[in-house]
Amino acid sequence: MATGTFAESGADLELVGIHKRFPGFTAIEELNLIVPAGSFFALLGPSGCGKTTTLRLVAGLEAPTAGRILLGGKDVTNQKSFQRPVNTVFQSYALFPHMTVLENVAFGLRRRKMADPVEKAHEVLRLVELDHLASRRPQQLSGGQQQRVALARAIVNRPALLLLDEPLGALDLKLRRQMQLELKTIQEDVGLTFLHVTHDQEEAMTMADTIAVMNKGRIEQMGAPQELYELPRTSFVANFLGQSNLFTGPVVGTTSAGISVDVAGQKITVPVDRAHRTTGDITIGVRPEKLTLHRSKPSHDPRANVMGPGRVIDVSFSGVSTQYLVEVPGVGKLIVFAQNMTFGSEIREGDEVWLSWAIDHGFGLEDDPANAPRFSPDLDTRTIAAQHLLEEA
Amino acid sequence: MALAALSTSTAQAPADTSRKSSPVALFLLLPGILYLVLFFLTPLVSLLLTSFKAPTEFGDFGQFSYAFRWENYADVIATYWPHIIRSFGYALAATFFALIISYPLAYFIGVKARRWPLLQSLALVMVIAPFFISFLLRTLAWKQIFSDESFLVTSLKAMSLLAPDAHVTGTAFSVIFGLTYNFIPFMTLPLYTTLERLDVRYLEAGSDLYASPFHVFRKVTIPLSMPGIVAGTLLTFIPAAGDYINASREFLGGTGTQMIGNVIEANFLVLQNFPAGAALSIILMSVILVFVSIYVKKSGTEELL
């Protein structure tokens, strides 16, 4: 039992061969995961991907069908929720409505019979800057304040591992940004291991050291945010984490520097070390902000790919950047984000354009192109709806 | 009040499918269920068994033995058919009057009075206030008010609105009046709980779409308050059909207004003809069950149960 002592530091979390089946469906299939001590780890995925189930397994609120959960090297699979040195910040905060803020925060300390629960509760409330509201009831606080109380109530116990279940989902955009920064600061201050579950890719990228992208009960890819973004391994990651332009074609040549793929008659090169498959039909991609638009065909550059001509079919201005939609015959629609370095948009709807990008920015996916969905940028509601239908099917 | 909660008990359990049956659930359920089996279900069974009993040979008055004397049913129907028909007739009438009296009241409290929470609370307390005074005393109060020497009746006679030799108590009118009065709170509360949650924007949408106030009421308000109507009518009809206080001679009834409850009571407690009382109870219960299941199916509110 972990009662009676505070965790000295964050602990490693290790999930080994976890399966979780509910009557009628499988939530998690063969999950293996290591969360290093002291890290801020995010489980990112769409709803129903198994991320919340994973969190509940770690918290001890569900039991795995198979597999083991290790915390700091110790097997906790059969420990009850209240015996684990793990605390959770719930999605709905789950603050006890019949207790004051202070009683809420002191609850866990009292259950573990820690010394000076009230003093420690005040201390952590000062950390989240809510000590002046200690005698209020949770219902009397705003959403952001409730979120901070929920966080305080969890971290006051100094758990070896703190679980965050989409705790920012209920907040409005501005408050969410602010809370993201605060959470990150607190994590660095107290040095705990954070396991954060979210479907918000931006939230995961700004806060986490490591992100695991989950889909259909499995981890698709795991790594540092930048790594996942720059070098996605599957089309799911390429499109769930930001947007991507993806093309599929057969490999037509391989040199020491790159492999060339024939995309509807246009030769596109990807560096060998950035491609997960090197033969047969492969899917390659590039991020929209890496593309440059040209009014005329750019002169040949061995370090760049060129695609075109295409026609601009949509231009939408969003302040910081402008998003162009370019239709290239035989290839499909491509998205381009361009920084608004000049006033107004020089390129208009209907213009003929060429696209180019540095070869180093391309990536090749691991998916078998036969199974992977063909590239379709999620631009209009109809395609998004269709994708949802596909996912549900 | 839980009576009101009856119409709102369709609240869905949280989608917490993971918690399956466990020893804890069994521990929680078993004592209560066992209690109801012992003191609700087996009594119904012994009622059924009693209804077929035959008088013990050479036995004393009021002694019966187990048998299968189905003629008990034929006998009680032959003897008491007017009481049976009267019971359901009175109960239907009382339910009908309670509904048409309660609906506007519940609509006023639940919809119109929303802007004045204090008025709403006050009216609600007034609706449930009759619960707090003894059922028997409030029924007796009406008996005094309707008695031949009362101010009300003598005035009505003086104004020639009532024949000089007419009585109010002991008539079908006074029994139905008593039943209606006593069960109005049971009707009003479920109606109130559904109407209170009625989103007035639906009504505005209705009139926006060119429906007259009457049409809005018939096509929008009534269907949306159907759960309350069903709960209220059941809560009124069932106890009214089995009631024997209002129809009793000492209260609002007379010899010609006896209901099935009165004859069950008489057979059990006075005549000691237990099989006859039991057979009548089974008849009452069966008719109500058939009536309720048809009614609930017809109104499409099965989920209420």
């Binding site: - | 609700f40 619960f131 089995g242």
Partner: protein
């Protein structure tokens, strides 16, 4: 012009309906001050006597009946509230086989006319030879109250976020601690409402009691028995006192609820 009259039809109607609902209450209350002799039918003048000497009439028969009613109501309320609350928690929080059948079974006692419930129990006590007394009344009242308690508490359990109990377990509370410190306090308003209802049902029940009471007299049974030869004004005193007490409880619950809602509204 026509419109402005129409606006007043519904409020006026409602006021009239509520007024009529109040008539027997007012009548009972007023006649508790009647300087009556044996029966309390004709108004004979105002007096406080009956209020001050409630128990003096008929060797305290009214008070004895009242005491019996209170005792029966307290015991059956405790029993029914405990059993019903346990069922309600299980019904909402656990999935098990025959759950929908069980919920129909729990509904049946409410759909059964009281006269059938009473007669059934009487038939059962008769066939197993149990003499009817205080115990049989308590057994009967507990039975019909359970279903009402289940309905009232179930509504409350359904609104309770399961995450609150999970948070309790997550914060090192054992199953018992979570129940005592989180589940129970949060269900308490629903449980209290159910207990009040159960008490009221038991206290005012006559039909079932009449079948199972033997020689024991409860307050409603006292009125029933006395109805033929005249009910003393003391009965009105007791009924009025109970009415006032119940009214105070309900109003204070409403007022404190409204005050809390107002306070919350001000905060946000």
């Amino acid at each position: 012009m026509k419109h402005s009259i129409g606006k007043w039809v519904l409020p006026a109607y409602s006021a009239l309906a509520l007024l009529i609902l109040m008539i027997p209450i007012g009548y009972t209350f007023v006649y508790s001050f009647n300087d009556s002799l044996k029966s309390n039918i004709v108004w004979r003048g105002f007096t406080f006597d009956k209020w001050l000497n409630v128990c003096n009439v008929q060797n305290g028969a009214v008070c004895e009946a009242f005491g019996n009613s209170i005792f029966i109501a307290v015991v059956s309320t405790v029993a029914a509230t405990t059993l019903g609350t346990m069922i309600a928690i299980a019904m909402v929080r656990y999935r098990f086989k025959f759950r929908s059948q069980l919920s129909l079974f729990l509904f049946l006692p409410m759909a059964t006319p009281e006269v059938v419930l009473g007669a059934g129990l009487a038939a059962q006590f008769l066939s197993i030879g149990v003499p009817k007394d205080m115990t049989t009344i308590i057994l009967a009242h507990t039975m019909f109250s359970i279903s009402f308690v289940v309905v009232a508490v179930k509504a409350r359990v359904a609104t309770l976020d399961p995450a609150l109990e999970e948070a309790g377990r997550d914060l090192y509370g054992s199953a018992l601690q979570v129940f005592l410190r989180i589940t129970f306090p949060l269900l308490l308003p629903g449980i209290l409402a159910a207990a009040l209802l159960s008490f009221a049902l038991s206290f005012d029940d006559f039909i079932i009691t009449n079948f199972n009471s033997g020689n024991v007299t409860t307050f409603p049974k006292y009125i029933w028995v006395s109805a033929a030869r005249g009910i003393p004004a003391e009965a009105n005193v007791i009924a009025s006192a109970v009415f006032i007490l119940a009214l105070i409880i309900v109003v204070s619950v409403q007022v404190s609820g409204a005050a809390r809602a107002k306070r919350l509204a001000k905060m946000n």
